[in-house]
Symmetry: C2
Subunit: 135 residues, 2 copies
């Protein structure tokens, strides 16, 4: 799993159209958040529950260190060349979301998997504002 | 070389502070562009002039396909786990910029290498708005 964190003053997205056959069916079509840790996620071949758990621990740690008020999981295939098959990616992404909601004591949201989305990001630019990880 | 393209309605950056010992000395501290293809670039071990040339051809092709009015090269180490050493990365990034200015018939700019930067990005979200490449 490849993850890119961007601590943002504000983040907004709006769904434009389906991108893949495999996608979330129920989803929030648009959202706006403030002081948010945006977590761009690419689910890779071989990802499993152990990696999900490690990713959530790290996410909680980073959110705490930057004093984010919310966490947004955002599916982002562009971070990897060795992506998991779509159904696996969608399911693991949603398990990551469920686990993050259980374990992180903040407002945790997700953007829908499998759609083209317009988004506005305002990265804060402090030394911990952008971090990347491989789990 | 890993590249992430984001076709954006608008993109702005503002330098906040030095991030690395090796960095650009002369730079534009802030910039705002419209209808811009933002090209996030991670220079990797083994990158050379052949890859630079291929990257610039691809950049010109994508900019043309999305009808961007400008191209912004933005150094982005977070796209790779196998980065080139800093001096090599800075120098290749700047050669990429010089080559892109020669070969792409658009307003081509760059953000400074080696600084923490605040930025605002408004991704359009059409099917070609986000693309990634490995050269």
């Amino acid at each position: 799993m490849r993850v890119l964190y961007v601590h943002s003053y504000t983040f907004e997205y709006r769904v434009r159209q389906p991108a893949t056959r495999v996608r979330d069916e129920d989803y929030v079509p648009e959202m706006a958040l403030e002081n948010v840790l945006v977590v761009f996620v690419a689910v890779e071949e071989g990802d499993d529950d152990v990696k999900l758990a490690r990713a959530v621990e790290d996410m909680a740690d980073v959110a705490s260190r930057v004093s984010a008020g919310a966490v947004l999981l955002y599916p982002y295939a562009h971070l990897s060349n060795r992506l998991a098959p779509l159904t696996v990616a969608r399911d693991l992404f949603n398990r990551l979301y469920a686990l993050a909601r259980e374990r992180i004591g903040l407002d945790v949201r997700k953007a829908p998997f499998g759609y083209y989305k317009e988004f506005k990001l305002h990265c804060i630019g402090h030394p911990l504002a952008e971090l990347s990880r491989t789990f």
